[in-house]
């Protein structure tokens, strides 16, 4: 017993020495950010790792806002190298980055995503206008209890909509593309920002970032509607369907042309100062912008990413190769 106790203490001392050692050198890319970009970024990361030259990047799904906060924390090994975003960087985030010394940032557009307004296959496929959706969801709207109160052609069913949390880029995009566009003119004139406020009387239910769970909830209750990215819809076509919005069905083509009203580009941001310090970042950029990844027949298209138009893709590829830093000129 005595010797084993001594062993344990020795191990403990060893552990303390281990932890108080000098700063380690990170040789693995660290990526944070949007849960919408996560399924695509992980596939690219795995491909990079499978080639055997670099370690597979580590990717955390923190939501766009959470990712920006970590990314803009500063320069150095303890801060992530790349953040994924399902919307463009905001002015406030740009300021935060600059304040912490993160000055040169490369913005890469990887493709497009459409946000589906979906329900169970057991429910009737419907068409909504952006205005109708605003009326159903807005805090400043008429707050109807049933869909039929908005328009008699809609079903006589209670309104219950699951939305992603405010930290989610999907929610930001929904706010920008549906809530502010469908906003009532009077409300908009009074206070533009209040258009985006959502009801808190139970009709709009905040669900987590877990999109797979959302699919299960929708499947269980045909009267529920949910908001999530196209890739989840595409992967679960045997369970859920998407309503058309302003008469346009969600599809690869309608998202790519932005004809579907709720389509948006997806991004990731790279810290220029980390390139050359953390091995593999340049190769990751190259892989992510390659035709075999984001091209029309690329492996990311198979996962539900809507490719960029060829012209746009060429521009993005040259930005990735030249590491052109972004500018905020709004």
């Amino acid at each position: 017993m005595k010797t084993s106790m001594k062993m344990i203490f020795a191990l403990a001392v060893f552990a303390v020495l281990l932890t108080s050692g000098p700063a380690y050198a990170r040789d693995q890319i660290q990526i944070v950010g949007s849960s919408t970009v996560y399924p695509f970024a992980t596939v690219v990361a795995e491909r990079l790792g499978a080639k055997g030259m670099f370690k597979t990047p580590v990717i955390e799904s923190t939501g766009t806002g959470g990712g920006m906060k970590l990314f803009c924390g500063g320069i150095g090994e303890k801060y992530p190298d790349i953040t994924n975003a399902s919307r463009a960087m905001k002015d406030t985030e740009w300021e935060m980055c600059k304040q912490n010394g993160v000055k040169d940032i490369v913005e890469i557009t990887i493709g497009n995503d459409g946000i589906a307004f979906a329900s169970s296959l057991k429910s009737k496929k419907l068409n909504f206008s952006v205005e109708q959706l605003w009326k159903a969801m807005a805090a400043k709207g008429p707050k109807p209890h049933k869909w039929s109160e908005i328009d008699p052609s809609l079903p006589n069913v209670a309104i219950r909509i699951l939305t992603p949390p405010p930290t989610s880029g999907t929610r930001d995009a929904w706010n920008a593309l549906v809530m502010s566009k469908g906003c009532d003119a009077k409300v908009k004139a009074a206070d533009k920002d209040s258009c985006e406020l959502m009801r808190e009387d139970g009709a709009v239910i905040e669900a987590g970032e877990n999109d797979a769970l959302l699919v299960q909830k929708l499947e269980a209750d045909p009267s529920l509607y949910g908001i999530f990215g196209f890739s989840y819809l595409d992967g679960n076509r045997d369970k859920i369907q998407a309503a058309s919005i302003n008469g346009v069905d969600i599809s690869l083509a309608s998202i790519q042309s932005y004809e579907y009203p709720v389509s948006r580009p997806l991004f990731f941001y790279v810290k220029k100062a980390h390139i050359g310090v953390i091995p593999g970042i340049r190769e990751y950029l190259k892989e992510f912008t390659s035709t075999s990844a984001v091209g029309d027949d690329g492996y990311l298209a198979d996962r539900g990413l809507v490719p960029l138009e060829p012209k746009k893709l060429t521009a993005v590829r040259s930005a990735a190769a030249n590491l052109t830093p972004m500018t905020m000129s709004k």
């Binding site: 017993m1 005595k2 106790m5 344990i8 203490f9 191990l11 403990a12 060893f14 552990a15 281990l18 932890t19 700063a23 380690y24 990170r26 693995q28 660290q30 996560y38 399924p39 992980t42 596939v43 990361a45 795995e46 790792g49 499978a50 055997g52 370690k55 597979t56 580590v58 990717i59 955390e60 799904s61 303890k78 296959l121 877990n210 999109d211 797979a212 769970l213 699919v215 890739s231 989840y232 992967g235 679960n236 076509r237 045997d238 027949d297 492996y299 198979d302 996962r303 539900g304």
Partner: protein
């Protein structure tokens, strides 16, 4: 005055007696009912996990005739050293082998459908085969290649085939080929060793729990070597040496409260102090183990103190009477007797730590990590995190993986608890 012998009184007392007996019986039935309910709930849970998950231990293999054509591989016949074989392009070889398994000429769109039936990992499997036996180049062999997740799910019966084509991942044309292959005996289910040896993947058919198991072991190791000595030292001091005063009372109350603190708080502490102040590497078993050690400490201290208390004073007095110093009394006599109980408590604490995700979320361990960690300072996932990540994935193939991972973590917990029971039965002494 009640006449205890009257007919009326006896009748009433018999009635009361009967009532009390039946109340007693009812009480027992409630207790049994609660047990049966608990057992049923457990059964339903286990059955649903098992029935969802057991298929994950197998994966569908497709027997294909692979031609290792040096021209397709891009290696010249003269220069077949290891490096060129390693960097050769095996992807077209895989594709050619699957086209060859389908009779007739294939249109471009059909080729794509055909390619979708074989896993992305197939070219790596071929590379490993060739590296092991370079003489394969130029030959045609029948190889068992891993099928894609879509085909895998179809073969296991997890994906429906009797719904409209638009609602299925597998298209009509692919079904046709699949049925043909089944008749030809090309499709088979093999035990999925890969599931235990590889790390996470975005392709369900390639994803494994190996990385998470290694990560969990590293994390528990760090957790144990930090929390056990500190916990035992604290308990021994408090129980055997510390004076009883306001301060020690306060510490005792706080230790008991600490055991009830939600684990996410420890995660926040880890984020603020270990990551941001001490700059320890994010998402590693080192930081995870330290955070979980904080969480496990109170459990160990409480268990150790309870077992120290259970050692009868006569042991201490006897040792003191023989001239042992207080330290000798504790280290030679009291602590060894308290060890079985302490270890049991430690194992319970560690199995709690094994199932914890909330604090790990804060320190970046909830992440997509493919490489199996080689040390405590490399990012890694742990078992419960892997379960969470798979449960969250859109691909259908991860449903069975999730349940299989749950089965593995349950297996670990059962083993740890059996070990605790063994320690208790083998070494515990009663006075």
């Amino acid at each position: 005055m009640i006449d205890r012998r009257s007919e009326e009184y006896r009748k009433r007392s018999a009635l009361r007696m009967k009532k009390r007996y039946s109340a007693d019986r009812r009480f027992r039935i409630y207790g049994q009912g609660a047990l049966v309910f608990g057992a049923l709930a457990l059964c339903v849970l286990l059955i649903s996990i098992f029935s969802n998950g057991y298929t994950a231990f197998f994966r569908t293999k497709l027997a294909l005739d692979v031609t290792f054509d040096p021209d397709v591989l891009g290696v010249a016949a003269s220069d077949q050293d290891r490096l060129s074989l390693e960097q050769a392009d095996y992807y077209p070889v895989v594709n050619n082998s699957i086209y060859a398994a389908i009779p007739g000429e294939l249109a471009r769109s059909e080729r794509r459908l055909a390619k979708d039936l074989i896993s992305n990992g197939a070219s790596i499997e071929l590379r490993e085969m060739v590296l092991e036996d370079p003489s394969l180049v130029g030959k045609t062999v029948r190889v068992q290649l891993t099928a894609s997740s879509d085909l895998d799910q179809l073969h296991k019966g997890n994906a429906p085939r009797d719904v409209a084509e638009g609602l299925r991942r597998i298209k009509d044309r692919q079904l046709e080929w699949y049925d043909r292959w089944v008749q030809e005996g090309r499709v088979s289910l093999k035990f999925n060793f890969n599931f235990f040896t590889s790390g996470d993947s975005r392709d369900p058919e390639l994803a494994g729990i190996g990385g998470a198991i290694v990560g969990s072991l590293f994390t528990l190791f760090i957790c144990f070597i930090l929390s056990f000595p500190v916990g035992v030292a604290a308990a021994v001091y408090l129980e055997e040496f510390a004076p009883k005063n306001k301060w020690t009372d306060l510490i005792e109350v706080n230790i008991n409260n600490l055991a009830a603190v939600p684990s996410i708080i420890f995660g926040l502490l880890g984020l603020a102090i270990l990551l941001n102040f001490f700059n320890l590497p994010r998402g590693t078993p080192l930081v995870g183990g330290m955070v979980l050690a904080l969480m496990t400490l109170p459990t160990i201290i409480i268990a150790c103190r309870a077992s120290l208390k259970a050692v009868p004073p006569s042991i201490r007095q006897g040792a003191l009477a023989m001239g042992a110093s207080p330290m000798q009394v504790t280290l030679h006599h009291v602590l060894p007797l308290a060890m079985p109980g302490t270890l049991t408590g430690t194992i319970i604490g560690l199995s709690q730590a094994l199932g914890e995700t909330a604090p790990l979320l804060m320190i970046g361990m909830v992440a997509f990590i493919v490489d199996i960690p080689g040390g405590v300072a490399e990012p890694s996932a742990v078992l419960p995190v892997q379960i969470y990540l798979w449960a969250e994935s859109a691909e259908r193939g991860f449903v069975e993986k999730t349940s299989a991972a749950i089965m593995i973590i349950l297996g670990f917990l059962v083993m740890m608890n059996l070990f605790a029971i063994y320690l208790r039965q083998r070494f515990e002494r009663r006075w």
